[in-house]
Amino acid sequence: MKTRFLKALALTTALATITVPALPQTTTPPPQTFGTTIYLDYSFWATKEGPITSNALNNKFAFRRAYFTYENKISADLKFRFRFDAENARVLTSTTGSTNEQLKPFMKHLYLDWAGLLPNSSLKIGMTETLAFKVAEDRWGYRSVAKTLVDGYKDVTGADIRTSSADIGINLTGAISKELRYGAMVMNGEGYSRPELNKYKKFGGFLQFVPLPGLNVWGYAEYEKVADGQNAKMYKVDVYFDMIPGLNVTGEWFTYDSDAKFNKVANADGTTSNAHFNIGGFSIFATYKITPDKLHVFARYDGYQPDSTNGAKEVSLVIAGVDWTPFHPSWKIQPNVWFYSYKDSAKKNDVIVNITAFLSF
C-alpha cells in the first residue's frame, strides 16, 4: 500500500516538474522594457597594400558594438533610460593588441527624460545622447555597419575632435511648429570615456528647418573653452532629403576649429611657430527601401580632411551595402564593402569586405 502510494506520488511529481516549466512565463508590464542589440562582424581584407590592410591580420570576427538598454516609462511625461555598451577599442582599424583589450562594458546612457517643460519638448538630464550627430545617425540607420561622419572621424583619421555621442549634462530638444525644431545642451565636454578635469563646459545648439515636407536643413554649432584663451568650436550643417518614398539622401558637412590644434612649423630664421589648422569633412549617403522592412540598400561617400593646411592627408571612404531581413525583424544580415583611398600617393587603397549581423531583441 505504501509503495503504491509512493509510486503514485513519484509519477505526479514527475508530471508536475515537466509541465511547470512549459507554462507561460511572465512578461514584465508594458512600462518597462529591456532590449539588447548586438552588431557582429566578419571582415576580411581584399587588398594587401593599404595602410590598414598591409599587415598580417587579414580577417577577423569582431563585435562592433553590444548594447543593453533598460527603459522605464514612469508616467505619461517621464521616462528613464539606462544603457550599457560594450566594445573593443577601435574595432576595425586598430592593429595593436594587448591582453587587456577585452570587450568591456561601460555606461553609455543614464538619464531622465521629462516632456513636461514646454509643449512638444523633451528635457534630458544625466548621461544622455549629445546633439551633434544624433539626427544624422537616425537617418543613416546603419550604425551596425559604420558610424557616421563626425562620430567615426577620429577612428579613420586619428585626429581627435573631441565630439562624442554621449556626455553628462542637460539637453533640451523640441519643436516650435512643424517647420521648426530646436535643441540646446550644456555638457561636460569630455564624452563618456573621460572624466571632467577642467572647469570649462561645452555648449551646443541646433536649429532644424523643414520648409517642405521631406526637406530638412539642420544647422549646429558647439563651443567649448579648452584652456585659458583657447577655445574649440565646431559647426555642422546637414541636409536631409526624404521627398521620394523609401529613399533618403543626406549630406553632412562639418568643420572643427580648435586653438589647441596646431602644427609646429619651421620658419626661415630657424625658429618654430605654431600654425593653426582646422579639421573638417563631408559625407553624402543614401538609403533606399526596396521592400520596406525586408530589403534595403545603402551607399555612402565621405571625404575627410584631418589637416586643412596639409592636403596630402586627405582620406576618402566609400561604403556600399545591402540590408536583408530574411525572416524576423530581430535579425538582419548586412554585407558591405569599405573602400578607402588616400590623397597621399604613397598610400595604396584599402578595401575591406564585411558581413555584419544585426541582432536585436
Binding site: K178, E179, L215, D242, P245, K289, T291, V322, S341, N349
Partner: protein
C-alpha cells in the same frame, strides 16, 4: 585609375549580390494591400475587405491588421503599410514627424461611430447634457430627481469591459474616470435594450442601429432615445438626426479615419472608393456605425483626386 585594380573585386561583389538577391526579389512577388491600425475599426474594415474581394476576385488581396491607432500611423510613416486605420485625429507629434519625413497624409473619414442614450418610455425626461450622462454613469448622481426626473434611484445598464462601446463611452463621456460599480454589465446590445424596456428607472447606451426599428424608423418598443446637449446652454440633438451626427452637433460621436501617404495608389484607391460608395456605406450601417455625411463626403472626394 583607382578602379582598374579593383574592377575584379567590384564586379565580383556586384555579381554575387545580384545572384543572391534576384531570386529573393522575384519571390517578393505577390503584393498585398496592407492595412494596419485601430482595433475599433479592425472588424469593420475586415468585413469591408472581404466583401470587396468577393465582388472583385481579380483585385489585389487585402490584409487587415490591428495594433491600435498609434501603431497604424507609425507604420504609415515608416512605409510598412499602405493604409492606416485610426479612430482619433493625428497628434501634433505625429504631424511633425510626418512633415519631417516627407509623408503627406491624406485622411479619409469612412464611418462615424456614435452612441445613443436610452431610457424607458415611461421616463418623463427628454434630454440630458453630456456632463449629466457622465455623472450618472460615474455614480456621482444616483437618483433621477437630481437631473429633473421622478424621485427614483437610477438603474444603470451598460456593457462589459471588453466592449469597444464601453471604452468609447468611458473616454468620451466619463472623461476617463471609473464607471460606477452599480452598472449592470450586460452581455450585449440586445440585453441592454431588453433591460431598459422592462425597467422604468433604467438608463442604457447602445449604437443607434440597435435602438431604432428599421421598418418604422422609430425607437423600439418600450424605449425612448434621449436628446443630448453639449452643455447646459446648448441645444440638444437626437442621434437619429443624421445631419446633427455628421456636423458634430450630436456630442457622443467620433469619425473613423483611414489615411494614406500622399495620393493612394490605384489598388488602394479602388478599395477606398468601394468603402466610400453606397455599397461600402451600407455595410458600415449594417455593422452598427453611421454612414458619413456631406461634410466628410466632400473632403474625401477631394483627397481621392
Amino acid at each position: 585609375m583607382l578602379y582598374e585594380r579593383f574592377k575584379k573585386w567590384i564586379v565580383a561583389a556586384e555579381l554575387a549580390m545580384a545572384l543572391v538577391f534576384t531570386p529573393i526579389l522575384i519571390g517578393q512577388g505577390k503584393k498585398m494591400i496592407q492595412i494596419k491600425g485601430s482595433d475599433t475599426m479592425i472588424n469593420l474594415v475586415q468585413i469591408l475587405a472581404e466583401e470587396y474581394m468577393g465582388k472583385n476576385p481579380k483585385a489585389t488581396p487585402i490584409a487587415v491588421l490591428g495594433g491600435g491607432s498609434g501603431t497604424g500611423i507609425t507604420a504609415l510613416i515608416n512605409g510598412t503599410t499602405d493604409i492606416a486605420n485610426h479612430s482619433r485625429d493625428l497628434s501634433p507629434k505625429e504631424t511633425n514627424q510626418m512633415w519631417e519625413r516627407g509623408v503627406k497624409p491624406r485622411v479619409f473619414a469612412i464611418a462615424v461611430d456614435g452612441l445613443s442614450i436610452i431610457v424607458n418610455e415611461k421616463n418623463p425626461l427628454n434630454q440630458l447634457t453630456m456632463d449629466q450622462v457622465g455623472a450618472i454613469y460615474r455614480g456621482d448622481v444616483k437618483n433621477w430627481q437630481a437631473v429633473g426626473g421622478p424621485a427614483q434611484p437610477i438603474s444603470l445598464y451598460g456593457r462589459q469591459s471588453n466592449s469597444g462601446t464601453y471604452a468609447f463611452l468611458q473616454e468620451h463621456v466619463l472623461k476617463n474616470k471609473n464607471y460606477s460599480p452599480d452598472v449592470k454589465e450586460m452581455n450585449g446590445n440586445a440585453q441592454i435594450i431588453e433591460g431598459v424596456a422592462a425597467d422604468a428607472a433604467a438608463i442604457g447606451y447602445a449604437g443607434v442601429g440597435y435602438v431604432v426599428d428599421k421598418a418604422t424608423g422609430k425607437p423600439m418598443k418600450g424605449l425612448k432615445i434621449l436628446n443630448i446637449a453639449k452643455d447646459a446652454k446648448a441645444q440638444g440633438y437626437s442621434p437619429t438626426d443624421k445631419a446633427a451626427v455628421d456636423s458634430g452637433n450630436y456630442p457622443i460621436s467620433r469619425a473613423l479615419f483611414q489615411s494614406t501617404n500622399g495620393k493612394p495608389g490605384a489598388d488602394a484607391a479602388a478599395f477606398l472608393q468601394f468603402i466610400l460608395g453606397p455599397e461600402g456605406q451600407k455595410i458600415v450601417e449594417r455593422e452598427g456605425f453611421y454612414p458619413i455625411g456631406a461634410k466628410y463626403i466632400e473632403a474625401n472626394t477631394k483627397n481621392l483626386k
